[in-house]
């Protein structure tokens, strides 16, 4: 990508929220990013409704045999370059489901991950830091 496009990408990362069988706790914390207290729109972050518009996918939850093909499909549908950021401890490891027959995580076995944000759920500040770190790797 050219320098102009890279500048644009860093100044306006549009995120798409992929809830891959999480317990909903991380999802609620992601929505908290948009509230007046954290207001990520001042950094240009907008929550979009279609993976085609996304510059970053926020994935949550333990990846399992049912959700893996769906997450992969969403990643393939996104226009590249597209960051993938794992939110919550479930994405970093298999967390409390590590002995489960169904868990096939962690995510970096299957997707090119750019950042992980540990926590159960992570604080919104930590998620902002995660997005910033993922963007600074570009």
């Amino acid at each position: 990508m050219s320098r102009l496009g890279l500048w644009g990408l860093k100044k306006s990362p549009w995120v798409y929220h992929v809830a891959a069988a999480s317990c909903n706790n991380c999802d609620i914390e992601i929505l908290e990013l948009l509230t007046p207290r954290y207001d990520v729109e001042r950094f240009g972050v907008v929550l979009v409704g279609s993976p085609r518009h996304a510059d970053a996918l926020l994935v949550t939850g333990v990846i399992n045999r049912k959700s893996l093909p769906r997450v992969m499909e969403v990643y393939e549908q996104a226009a590249k370059p597209c960051l993938v950021i794992g939110v919550g401890t479930c994405t970093c490891s298999n967390h409390m489901f590590k002995n489960s027959y169904n868990a096939v995580g962690p995510y970096d076995k299957h997707l090119p991950m750019h950042a992980f944000v540990p926590g159960c759920p992570p604080k919104p500040e930590a998620m902002i830091l995660g997005v910033v770190k993922a963007l600074s790797k570009l």
Partner: protein
């Protein structure tokens, strides 16, 4: 190309046309976002935000979905953009040079403004996505809904100026006898056009065609990269041109510096309406436009005939 040809190209591509209206429109989308943010007690994005969005989208990958009609899918955004370039060229030319335009440019303008939703419908239908198809059908229904009161409201200035269908004549008539807005029928017609502006922009009470929560941004669902950027640019230019059209037709033209204040007032009104209303269902919107605004439009036309 002759000199007048270059002048025409400059008119449509650089000064009032594409470049100027694109930059002003993008700054206005920032106004829209910052006013929305302040209404919600947020700080809001910086001024360069719409430009960052645009450059990023232009340089990203553009995906054509499997099975979509490629030509139509990629050309549909260009149709809307071209229509908006012509609109801005025409509107500004008329405002600076009221005698210079041709007879019937008001009618041409109405059809050019109709091309933008048409481009959305065509593009969404070509994308082979069920959610886009739902969005396209809603956009089409909405278009048929707001066009009736819009045309009725535009009859009011035509009647008041004694049957002029040239924008220049409307401006001259307003400069001579005061803006059409300052009368009962004028106020009703301008309010109707304000609601129509909201619907043409796809702003909240009438954003059912791109409802993010139900149909994943509907008509835009399959668009990515540069073609999405062109659609966003078209919307930004519409945010600039529709209030300008309203000022030209109802509020005395863009003759003096007061017009900038009038312009910002209309934009902020539209944004506040967007922020304080929930979304209509499509049948509610249709009923609102036909049976409420339509009746008000007829009342305004009758009042205009008896010179109120």
């Amino acid at each position: 190309m002759s000199w007048s040809g270059w002048g025409l190209a400059f008119n449509f591509l650089i000064f009032p046309g594409f470049l100027f209206s694109a930059v002003v429109g993008l700054v206005l989308t920032w106004v829209d976002r910052i006013v929305s943010a302040r209404v919600q007690y947020r700080r809001g994005p910086p001024v360069f935000q719409p430009f960052a969005d645009l450059f990023k989208l232009l340089l990203k990958q553009t995906i054509v979905p499997d099975g979509a009609s490629k030509t139509v899918f990629l050309l549909a955004p260009m149709l809307g953009l071209a229509a908006m370039c012509l609109t801005s060229g025409l509107l500004f030319y008329v405002n600076f040079n009221p005698q210079g335009s041709f007879v019937g440019d008001l009618i041409v303008l109405v059809y050019l403004l109709g091309l933008a939703p048409l481009a959305l419908v065509i593009g969404a239908s070509a994308s082979r996505n069920p959610l886009s198809a739902v969005g396209a059908s809603r956009e089409m229904m909405l278009y048929f809904g707001y066009e009736l009161p819009f045309l009725l409201a535009l009859l009011v200035p035509i009647i008041k100026s004694g049957g002029a269908i040239r924008l220049g004549e409307l401006i001259v008539a307003q400069q001579a006898g005061g803006p059409f807005l300052y009368s009962i029928s004028g106020v009703i017609a301008a309010l109707i056009v304000l609601f129509t502006t909201q619907a043409k922009l796809g702003y909240v009470p009438f954003d059912m065609a791109e409802a993010e929560q139900e149909i994943m941004s509907g008509v835009f669902a399959e668009y990515s990269g540069a073609s999405l950027a062109v659609f966003k640019l078209t919307k930004a230019m519409m945010l600039f041109l529709l209030p300008l059209f309203m000022i030209t037709v109802f509020w005395g033209g863009f003759g003096d510096w007061w017009a900038i204040l009038k312009f910002l007032l209309i934009v902020v009104l539209v944004v506040l309406m967007k922020n304080t209303n929930p979304r209509f269902r499509i049948d509610q919107a249709l009923r609102f436009f036909w049976f409420i605004l339509g009746v008000f439009g007829i009342v305004a036309v009758v009042l205009a005939f008896v010179r109120l």
